[in-house]
């Protein structure tokens, strides 16, 4: 190559590199990196006197042999839309994500409908999908519903990745699935269980967990297209799963996690005082945990409500507890009975999901014996009665 020609090539390379890096720096500078938590308005009106409500029923109709991992959100008209996964058995190829709507006026669940299947997800993502798992529903600041759900292409749940679908009509129709990339290691082993939170700048915060080599939790920040634009580690090591993040204000939040592995059989807690940029080292709370999922929320009154298995060994009971001091101490309120008379065998309560809707009522959904999704509706007055 002639000297002048070689110099020309080098100049072109240099100009190209400078242009590309300038564009990339510009993009990097526009990524939203830090924001405060968005916390919904607390109730300031004086509480109206109401009769205590406590009702138990089934959200799923038994249309599939097994069901698991319910999630729910309030939709238009005060109705409640729930999702879960169901099929012939956990991990089977026929497992799909199902949904049903609780009519607020009639207090009855509608027929369950298939929201998405393994085949549909596979087609959307242009990659083989072996099975589907945990769904989590969230509403973004624009009012759109997002359904996040786990899928596995190879191996067990430790090979999971998270997918997202969006709905602009409260869950009647859904966009095609997209893939969340949360790990550089083949994007393996990220799952969801806990409800999403909001940031002031419009981002969603999705609590996730990993269980490949380590078992640890993270809070992933998602933009308006559900692309991962940041994340923070809530814990590390081999002992914490399925985080539930409860913001108190713009800067402070508590994350509660399922304990796993060799750590003490207690729910683990970590806190932030800078909107999730840093989290304290996880500490065991006084609350038992037999390596099982939990649910928690901050009520309109500002108290924390917790649903958990009050045992160190099994999931045979599901208990509601309340904390008035931001999770420093808990008072057990109520132990739930099995939804039907159990003649023989064990009964297992798993994967609770708690939500408080606009009218102040609470809804608890959980998996019972992997056979049905149980729905429990109660109100503030019932809680006060059981304090």
């Amino acid at each position: 190559m002639q000297g002048s020609e070689a110099r020309g090539v080098r100049v072109v390379w240099l100009a190209l590199a400078i242009a590309v890096f300038a564009a990339a720096f510009h993009r990097a500078a526009t990524v939203r990196t830090a924001s405060s938590f968005h916390v919904g308005e607390r109730s300031t009106r004086s509480p109206q006197i109401a009769e205590p409500i406590f009702e138990v029923g089934f959200a799923s109709s038994g249309g599939t042999e097994t069901v698991h991992s319910a999630t729910a959100i309030e939709i238009a008209g005060g109705d409640l839309r729930a999702f879960w996964y169901g099929g012939s058995r956990e991990g089977a190829k026929d497992v799909a994500i199902y949904s049903s709507v609780l009519d607020a006026e009639t207090d009855r669940w509608g027929p369950e409908q298939q929201v998405t299947t393994r085949e549909e997800t596979q087609k959307d993502l242009a990659r083989y999908i072996k099975k589907l798992g945990n769904p989590v529903v969230a509403r973004d600041r624009e009012g759109r519903l997002w359904l996040f759900y786990v899928s596995v292409s190879l191996g067990g749940w430790s090979g999971s990745a998270i997918n997202a679908r969006m709905s602009i009509d409260d869950g009647r129709t859904w966009s095609r699935a997209s893939r969340l990339v949360t790990s550089p290691f083949l994007n393996l082993s990220t799952l969801v269980k806990g409800p999403a939170i909001h940031y002031v700048d419009g981002l969603l915060g999705l609590p996730v967990y990993h269980e490949l080599l380590g078992k640890f939790s993270e809070l992933v920040r998602l933009d308006e297209d559900a692309r991962v634009v940041g994340k923070t580690r809530l814990s590390w090591g081999h002992s914490s799963l399925q985080p539930v993040v409860v913001p108190f204000d713009g800067e402070r939040a508590l994350a509660l996690m399922r304990r796993s592995g060799r750590s003490p059989p207690r729910i683990l807690a970590t806190e932030t005082r800078d909107a999730g940029r840093h989290w304290t080292a996880p500490r065991p709370t006084s609350v038992s945990n037999p390596d099982a999922a939990i649910a928690a929320l901050r009520s309109q009154d500002g108290e924390l409500l917790l649903a958990f298995n009050d045992s160190e060994h099994d999931r045979s009971h599901l208990t509601l507890a309340l904390s008035s001091d931001r999770g420093q101490s808990w008072k057990n309120l109520y132990v739930l009975d099995p939804p039907t008379s159990v003649v023989a065998g064990t009964t297992r309560f798993a994967y609770p999901w708690l939500i408080q809707v606009t009218n102040g009522e609470f809804h608890l959904l959980y998996t019972w014996n992997r056979e049905r999704i149980v729905h429990v509706r109660f109100n503030r007055e019932w809680l006060l009665l059981n304090r």
């Binding site: 590199a17 890096f21 242009a126 990659r127 083989y128 933009d223 994340k231």
Partner: protein, 207 residues
């Protein structure tokens, strides 16, 4: 119709098909062999392309991998060898160093997660710009091209990920780089040399 990001991912797997075909297939008409292999990767089996099955396991290749694969195949497709032995070793040292820094910690070793550096990657881009400048200075155009293409793809969101690390590295590339740099290896054979003698390279024999 797959999304643009999925098309990029499937194209990466298609390049792997081509690389394997050129390494294992007949040496005559390499362009035809490569084109057939690429076409094979898009062949649907039970409603899913072959590349889709591989991608489910491999995840998407990084843009660096795609660029280096293309460079490594160049001699077999009639072009001159790209990159000197020193340059390829330079590239693989960078890749191995990046991978050994990144992967242990993202898998949960310790509280720090270096993957977060790739979301708003001003610092990482500055480091890359320095590396690209060094590569330009030393006339390492394969290295420079791989970096520039990766950064450009990141800017254009060509992969599903919005994290710069995923454009730069993938575990397969890191494994190959470590394999290529293995210290017990005698008579180092560069990837370009391996590409020109593919059957021996795939068997892992030293030159």
């Amino acid at each position: 119709m797959a999304s643009p990001q999925s098309l990029t991912g499937l194209t990466g797997i298609g390049l792997l098909f081509v690389w394997c075909a050129l390494a294992l297939g007949p040496r005559r008409r390499p362009w035809l062999v490569g084109a057939l292999a690429f076409g094979l990767s898009w062949l649907p089996v039970s409603g899913m392309t072959l590349a889709g099955y591989i991608r489910a396991v491999s995840s998407d290749l990084s843009v660096t991998s795609m660029a280096l694969l293309t460079c490594a195949m160049a001699p077999q497709l009639g072009a001159s060898s790209l990159g000197s032995r020193d340059e390829w070793r330079f590239v693989f040292r960078l890749v191995a160093t990046g991978g050994l820094f990144l992967y242990p910690m993202v898998l949960g070793l310790g509280p720090f997660d270096p993957y977060t550096l790739g979301f708003a990657p001003t610092g990482l881009l500055a480091l890359l710009a320095l590396t690209a400048g060094l590569a330009w200075w030393r006339r390492y155009h394969v290295c420079l091209g791989a970096i520039v293409l990766s950064v450009l793809a990141f800017r254009l969101d060509l992969l599903e990920s919005s994290n710069l690390w995923d454009y730069l590295l993938d575990p397969w590339l890191v494994l190959y780089a470590i394999y290529d740099l293995r210290p017990w290896r005698r008579n180092v054979q560069t990837t370009c040399e391996a590409a020109s003698r593919p059957r021996r390279a795939l068997r892992g024999s030293s030159a």
